[in-house]
């Protein structure tokens, strides 16, 4: 019965527990993503991203700017490619709190696990072959440490993600046949969730928009889309 007595349990980690309780339950996202993630990035959840690294950067940007520690693991991918620091900064990420782990090789699980213990957001390229048990264990670790795990899916898979964000192939504006320049890209981004809690929906985003940040495309069109969803679902 001693274990049930709260007075006995407290000295173990009283301050850490109080700190956890006093933290806000979710991390902020850019207003353009509010239709996809009305509550922001919920601490302890797993949110997978498919199709665009820019979408991932836009997703973590506001949390980073508000002081959260984020880390990128195995992103973009492999040896010769690197994160474009300028693009990340333009999305609003604070590079001082964005370490990058470029190549984990065999120790992917250990590295991601160690980072989940300490970081607010861990964004990692999901490896091609990983047992469901491993994925589930990492998800549980994110939940118990109250951090957000963001697997980036390109070849890999993550069937037990709480939310799945998927970017369709984009459409670039500003560039023609031998004239203009890349200015901004329009992208359909969809969200799906596990269970009944999340209704699937899709929005059109400028990713990146004029200033390199994410913007919502024509709010009016999105409203129509929402009512469509309501009618069909």
């Amino acid at each position: 019965m001693a274990a049930r007595n709260p007075v006995r349990e407290w000295p173990a980690a009283p301050i850490a527990a109080a700190a956890l309780a006093s933290r806000s339950p979710s991390l902020p996202v850019h207003p353009a993503l509010h239709q996809l993630l009305p509550d922001g990035l919920r601490r302890g959840s797993t949110v997978s991203v498919t199709g665009s690294l820019s979408l991932l950067l836009a997703l973590i940007a506001d949390a980073s700017a508000e002081g959260a520690w984020c880390v990128l693991v195995d992103l973009p991918n492999g040896s010769a490619t690197r994160l474009g620091a300028e693009a990340a900064r333009d999305f609003g990420i604070d590079l001082a709190r964005l370490p990058v782990v470029p190549a984990t090789r065999e120790s992917w699980t250990n590295v991601v696990g160690a980072l989940l213990d300490a970081f607010d957001i861990v964004a990692a390229r999901a490896p091609a072959r990983l047992a469901d048990g491993e994925l589930r264990r990492l998800g549980a670790r994110a939940r118990s440490r109250q951090s957000v795990l963001v697997p980036f899916l390109a070849g890999g898979r993550w069937p037990m993600a709480d939310l799945r964000l998927t970017a369709q192939p984009g459409e670039w504006a500003g560039i023609g046949d031998g004239h203009g320049r890349l200015a901004r890209r329009r992208m359909q981004v969809g969200v799906e969730g596990r269970g009944q809690a999340v209704r699937s929906r899709e929005v059109t985003l400028w990713l990146p928009g004029e200033q390199g940040r994410v913007e919502l495309d024509e709010p009016a069109a999105s409203v129509v889309e929402l009512s469509d969803v309501r009618r069909t679902g």
């Binding site: 407290w10 973009p76 474009g84 620091a85 980072l115 031998g178």
Partner: protein
């Protein structure tokens, strides 16, 4: 712990020091020095207000606010980013002024220092006279200063915030009426939160709790805060004389006169220093830094922390101190030449394990935890297994991204905010390739696309072969933009052009082509992907 045994401590506190330092009003001869502090100014670090001027406080700006929140309260708020080097440099004259009055100065951070009060007070004829002497000395270089004298460092710091001399033995009653939030200065807001929810609003209320129950509920750190609140203990725990052989010396050969280089060279020595201490189950609470210049000048200073000093804390103090000595005003500078030796001596140590590092971390618990996790990952993957990205100056995207091993000092080589003619406008590619990967950019006739001497594409691109999977059709393209580099040197001059191409799947690429003389031997490579 008997109250009477606590040392009398005098604390000199310069209010809003980060603001005073960055706003450049440290010259007290400026007639408008204190007027400037009436303007709304705030200093920002990691997205949070860390200090604000009197004027800003008057309209409701507070420490710990987000920038947006502060600007909502005061739209004409001047927001500056924190510059610790400037803070240290501007504080140096004040430290020297105090050293002229008393010896044994211990600096806690730029803007706050303490001295033992008993001896000097006897010499100057009373504690009020000592306070007046300190105030007069510092006031020459700092527009606003307040001095407090009390039993123990914590009470003295609180006395300085109220510009008061607390008589010996009455520090407990003095602290009793202060709000519980005063403990926030240890970075332990979680403890304060819990106490508030328990209905404890003053330090006196906290101090009245039985010490044993506080230790059981809040652990050692809570017990220490409890002793502080009662004015019973100035030090974390029993102080031990440090073992002599724990000091370390860094020889700089050749001598160095740059702060960042010295701090970088000292890094491994400082880590050895902390590791040696922790191998003896000790942590450092007060450290003396002694430097010798190549002309044989020697200077030293003591630094004290409110908790214990971590390796990065010691590095910070090395940086602050050398910044102050090398770049301070020249007439009073004690070090006039490059530095050839740096010695780190532990002055006061405490048994380690009694402090949770997170409670005293520089930028909060989260940052300290993140750094520890990264150190762990570095032991798995090697030092360069964790990189820190930054934007630096340059023309092509790969040049503008700099990735250095996490924890390595960044030397500002190329500044990003200078004009870099010829660079591409935003958006920047989210993926850069370094080195660029060779690809084929082909025209309708399956030949490489050639850009002529006059900067025009002779035959438009039609297919793109990334040499990874099958070639794709080019749907739209822009450019070419010339990026002639080193055109003045005929041997290394190459004609480089950049183009943006979008393929049939809507993916955009930045490609660069190298043209030989007369447009022959065109070679293309992939520099960036707009993923």
């Amino acid at each position: 712990m008997v109250t009477g045994t606590l040392p009398r401590i005098a604390t000199v506190w310069c209010p809003d020091w980060p603001v005073v330092a960055v706003s450049g009003v440290t010259d007290a001869e400026l007639p408008d020095a204190s007027v400037a502090l009436d303007l709304p100014i705030a200093v920002l670090a990691a997205g949070q207000i860390v200090a604000c001027s009197r004027g800003a406080r008057g309209v409701g700006v507070r420490r710990g606010m987000r920038k947006r929140e502060a600007q909502a309260r005061c739209p004409d708020l001047v927001v500056m980013s924190r510059d610790e080097a400037v803070e240290a440099r501007c504080f140096e004259p004040a430290i020297r002024a105090v050293e002229e009055v008393v010896s044994g100065v211990e600096v806690i951070r730029p803007g706050l220092l303490l001295v033992a009060a008993r001896g000097p007070a006897r010499h100057l004829g009373g504690e009020a006279a000592l306070a007046a002497a300190l105030r007069a000395a510092v006031h020459r270089s700092v527009p606003e200063v307040s001095v407090g004298i009390a039993d123990g460092a914590f009470a003295a710091e609180q006395a300085a915030r109220r510009d008061a001399v607390v008589p010996a033995g009455s520090s407990g009653p003095f602290l009793a009426d202060l709000p519980i939030g005063t403990l926030d200065c240890f970075g332990d807001s979680a403890l304060v939160d819990v106490l508030r929810r328990l209905g404890i609003w003053t330090l006196g209320g906290f101090a009245a709790l039985p010490a044993r129950d506080v230790a059981a509920r809040f652990g050692l750190a809570g017990a220490w805060a409890h002793r502080q609140a009662g004015g019973r203990d100035s030090r974390p725990v029993v102080v031990r004389d440090p073992p002599v052989d724990c000091s370390v010396t860094v020889e700089l050969e050749p001598p160095v006169d740059r702060v960042d280089v010295i701090a970088f060279s000292a890094r491994s020595a400082v880590e050895t220093f902390i590791a040696n201490l922790s191998a003896r189950a000790l942590a450092c609470a007060c450290v003396e830094l002694e430097v010798t210049s190549e002309r044989g000048e020697r200077a030293s200073r003591r630094w004290r922390a409110s908790g214990v000093l971590s390796a990065s804390d010691v590095i910070d103090r090395i940086r602050w101190q050398i910044e102050g000595w090398l770049h301070g005003s020249s007439d009073v500078s004690r070090v006039t030449a490059a530095i050839s030796r740096l010695r780190i001596v532990p002055i006061e140590t405490v048994p380690s394990g009694t402090h949770q590092q997170a409670l005293w971390g520089g930028d909060g618990e989260a940052g300290e935890r993140a750094r520890r996790a990264l150190a762990r990952v570095q032991t798995m993957l090697g030092f360069d297994g964790v990189l820190a990205p930054a934007v630096v100056g340059g023309r092509d995207p790969a040049q503008r991204t700099q990735l250095l091993p996490w924890g390595e000092e960044r030397t500002q080589s190329r500044r990003a905010d200078e004009p870099w003619p010829g660079r591409l406008p935003a958006p920047a590619p989210s993926v850069v390739l370094d080195p660029p990967a060779p690809i084929d950019l082909l025209d309708a006739g399956e030949r490489p696309v050639v850009v002529g001497e006059r900067g025009a594409v002779l035959r438009p691109p039609c297919r793109l072969d990334l040499r990874r999977d099958s070639p794709v059709a080019v749907m739209s393209w822009a450019g070419p933009w010339p990026a002639d580099e080193r055109w003045w040197d005929p041997r290394s001059a190459v004609r480089v052009v950049r183009m943006q191409v979008v393929d049939e799947r809507g993916r955009a690429y930045l490609v660069a082509g190298t043209m030989g003389v007369g447009g022959a031997d065109a070679q293309w490579c992939l520099e960036g992907i707009y993923d």
